[in-house]
């Protein structure tokens, strides 16, 4: 798969043009920097060195964080549109290999770009002001982020509607470009300082960053693989367990840096898991139950949380909430953290509750969930900005059905003197949403027993055949 994708990818005009353009720009920078280096003494060469480093990193970021990931947005969608995904599915290539092959091909091309940029990062050495180790780490981190963003676009290309993909290209691309051109330059010195690892918790944060990035790569690729895999393939169980593991690990690694960062990263991972849980198709082949049924009653109970489909996903989400609360209680057991966690959970449950109430049989739950969540987040951001400027607390309470709008009030409720109204509201709203989700999943959950009976018969037959082939 990788060979085919590389064969195609490297021959495409977009990659060749991007690569040559990058080389041309960086050569030009090299010439300018060399001429400045030769006129040493007349200018602040250390400042120039930092400027050149920043410039190279911006150009590099534009290539690997914007242009390369965007190439993934049509990778599987094109194969689906042209029916060639069917032809590939019928070979021994698994859905995972198809999706990861696409991703790896783009990432390999990004690696070529990264490799080509590396020598230019040496230029500041001649100008002074160079911090080799942190700059190389930043270069590597940008490459890792590029991998995660590419996984996002490749994964979305398999599942999302054309509207969602278009939105991702236009809005996501514009936001990323805006940040890289206007926000990133001022963040470079901060990032380089952070990556100097002068404090012990920075190392842990870097490891947490790597864990989160690897998880995001895995998650989005598996999301794409699930969309094209046959219904007899169980991709949900592993995805849920890995998500739970990644959430716990990143939270614990980031705890020493301060609870809020750990909590927000954990909520980010929970958002990914929720996106998948609430958008999985509910029907699956009874053969998936076999592995669970081998463990008897314990397997059946585990199945209620780990079988594919949004119905069991609802129960797993509930378990996820409990795990997150447990983590908070073990580390930063303050009302403020509980409030933030529950506001986040409630915001993630809100689109699922809407879908369960009004579009339970929707064929494209992923797009519906993503769209409602995105609108909720944008709306809550607007309300927070209004609150900051006009102190309209009432407005936040009116829109408290999107729990995240209450976030600016959370620190106030943690002061210890108030009866935590925001915490109580967060508990109330989130509980209502979770209850709605669970109530609307009961019918599907009750049908699991029937499916398990069918699976048990199939399992018994197959065991009988194994013992007596003539049967």
């Amino acid at each position: 798969m990788l060979v085919k994708e590389l064969r195609q990818g490297i021959r495409t005009g977009s990659f060749v043009i991007l690569f040559l353009l990058l080389q041309a720009i960086l050569t030009f920078v090299l010439l300018i920097a060399s001429s400045i280096g030769l006129s040493e003494g007349r200018l602040d060469t250390a400042a120039n060195g930092r400027f050149v480093t920043g410039f190279i990193l911006i150009i590099y970021s534009l290539a690997v964080l914007l242009f390369q990931p965007l190439r993934g947005i049509s990778s599987i969608a094109t194969e689906v549109r042209e029916n060639s995904i069917d032809l590939m599915s019928l070979t021994r290539l698994t859905a995972w290999r198809i999706v990861s092959g696409k991703w790896l091909s783009i990432v390999s091309q990004s690696a070529l770009i990264a490799g080509a940029v590396l020598p230019y990062l040496i230029i500041p050495y001649f100008l002074g002001g160079m911090q080799l180790f942190p700059e190389l780490i930043l270069w590597f981190c940008l490459f890792v982020v590029s991998g995660a963003l590419t996984a996002l676009t490749v994964g979305i290309s398999a599942i999302g509607s054309a509207l969602l993909r278009g939105l991702l290209v236009v809005a996501g691309g514009a936001l990323m470009m805006g940040y890289l051109l206007f926000g990133f330059p001022s963040h470079i010195p901060i990032l380089i300082e952070m990556l100097s690892f002068t404090r012990g918790d920075q190392s842990l944060a870097a490891i947490a960053f790597l864990v989160a990035a690897c998880y995001l790569c895995y998650f989005f690729l598996d999301l794409g693989a699930t969309a094209i895999a046959p219904s007899s393939e169980n991709r949900a169980t592993r995805k849920r367990l890995i998500g739970l593991g990644a959430l716990t690990l990143t939270y614990l690694l980031l705890c020493p840096t301060g609870g809020s960062l750990a909590l927000f990263i954990a909520l980010g991972i929970t958002a990914c898991i929720a996106l998948d849980l609430f958008s999985e198709r509910v029907n699956f082949s009874s053969i998936i139950c076999w592995k669970f049924l081998r463990f008897g009653a314990l397997g059946r109970i585990a199945g209620r949380f780990l079988y594919p489909g949004w119905a069991t996903g609802s129960l797993f989400f509930l378990a996820l909430v409990l795990v997150l609360c447990l983590l908070i209680s073990l580390t930063h057991s303050s009302p403020r953290h509980y409030t933030i966690a529950l506001l986040g959970i409630g915001t993630l449950a809100f689109p699922a509750a809407i879908i369960q109430l009004f579009a339970r049989n929707s064929e494209n739950r992923f797009s519906s969930y993503s769209f409602i969540l995105l609108v909720s987040l944008i709306l809550s951001k607007i309300l927070v900005v209004l609150y900051d400027n006009f102190s309209g607390e009432l407005l936040l309470w009116i829109f408290s059905f999107i729990p995240m709008t209450l976030l600016p009030l959370a620190p106030e409720s943690a002061s210890g003197t108030e009866p935590f109204p925001v915490l109580l509201a967060a508990i109330g709203i989130t509980s209502v949403y979770l209850l709605v989700i669970l109530m609307r999943s009961l019918h599907q959950l009750s049908q699991l027993s029937t499916l398990e009976s069918v699976a048990q018969r199939g399992l018994d037959d197959s065991l009988m055949e194994a013992h007596d082939p003539d049967h």
């Binding site: 060979v3 042209e82 060639s84 069917d86 019928l90 070979t91 046959p230 007899s232 082949s285």
Partner: protein, 346 residues
């Protein structure tokens, strides 16, 4: 021994749309079955479910006794799938295209080269080896698709409208290739709008309308128009008095005159046994009826299809129950021989 393709109460709903509405049929090993229906009748959905590319809402489908939902990987090694349309890749030659699929199917080294050469020779792709795969004509693309579908030497070929959009020459070439595959003993399930072509190629025909099977039988039974009780019709022309046929029939029970015509008569035989037809012809000649033409009446398949749909609209009289094809030897042998019993002239 199980059928090559076995479908039982298969349903596929897309929301409220019943694309496939409880169909059941069997296709025996080594036979060629044509799948006929209007656009949107459910052909492609059924074929995609059989090819493990879609999953049924209810019911079961098996390829060589293996359930397509529970064991898609096993089924995939048994089938070759030819979709109605598909895109080839930019920047990839025909040889690279086949090489990619051969690798994806798990072939390595000399075995891979051997398989590629074999299918290229079969589908006449050798002269196209260095052509870019998405710059081929429709006919060449279909040959490439057939070559790809045959790379792993599947037992069952599922072909969705393979002849659509082909020019007459490419169509003839494709038909020739399908005929060779049928002779090699592969089970072929093929859909097409061109019924006359299916009639030539297929052992049985399966008509689907609005997601339901409305006819399952051999092409000859449709072409030669047996009636609801299984009777068949013969056109007899004589050199001389046309009444001589009716006179002969009066003396020979077991055959009836349906209509007296200008140069003879239209006869109805109660069963399609060709030996009986030959016996009647022999009797006429022996008794001095001046027969110059004796042939079973033929209609084109399009008319037959329209008739079935018409009868269906009038209340289901035209529904032909799917034959019991559970044994591989049973399919359509007794009616199939009817073609051989229709000498154009006496």
């Amino acid at each position: 021994m199980s059928a090559a393709i076995s479908v039982r109460n298969l349903f596929r709903y897309f929301g409220v749309l019943k694309a496939v509405d409880g169909i059941s049929f069997d296709i025996p090993h080594g036979s060629v079955c044509g799948f006929v229906g209007a656009n949107g009748a459910g052909k492609t959905t059924t074929m995609r479910m059989l090819a493990t590319l879609d999953y049924p809402t209810m019911g079961s489908a098996e390829i060589c006794g293996i359930n397509v939902v529970d064991h898609p990987d096993k089924v995939r090694s048994l089938i070759g799938w030819m979709p109605d349309n598909f895109g080839n890749y930019d920047h990839m030659t025909v040889l690279e295209y086949l090489d990619f699929y051969a690798r994806a199917l798990g072939y390595t080294g000399d075995e891979r080269k051997g398989r590629i050469e074999e299918v290229m020779a079969f589908a006449d792709l050798m002269p196209l080896a260095d052509r870019i795969s998405n710059k081929l004509s429709k006919g060449m693309t279909q040959r490439l698709c057939l070559g790809r579908a045959l790379l792993h030497d599947p037992q069952v070929l599922i072909m969705d409208e393979p002849a659509a959009g082909l020019d007459p020459r490419a169509r003839v070439e494709l038909k020739h290739l399908i005929r060779i595959l049928a002779e090699e003993g592969k089970t072929i399930f093929i859909s097409s709008h061109i019924l006359s072509e299916l009639g030539e190629m297929c052992d049985t025909l399966l008509f689907i309308n609005a997601g339901r099977i409305v006819h399952h039988g051999d092409a000859d039974s449709l072409r030669y128009g047996s009636d609801a009780t299984g009777g068949v019709f013969y056109d007899v022309q004589v050199n001389g008095n046309p009444e001589s046929v009716a006179d002969w029939v009066i003396l020979n029970p077991g055959v009836e005159v349906v209509e007296t015509r200008k140069r003879g008569a239209r006869l109805r035989l109660p069963n399609p046994d060709p030996a009986r037809a030959a016996e009647i012809l022999r009797g006429m000649v022996k008794d001095g009826v001046p027969v110059i033409e004796f042939h079973r009446e033929e209609r084109n398949l399009e008319d037959a299809f329209i008739d079935i749909l018409g009868q269906l609209e009038q209340g289901g009289a035209g529904l032909t129950a799917p034959p019991d094809l559970s044994t591989p030897d049973a399919p359509s042998g007794e009616q199939h021989s009817g073609t051989e019993a229709t000498p154009p002239t006496a």
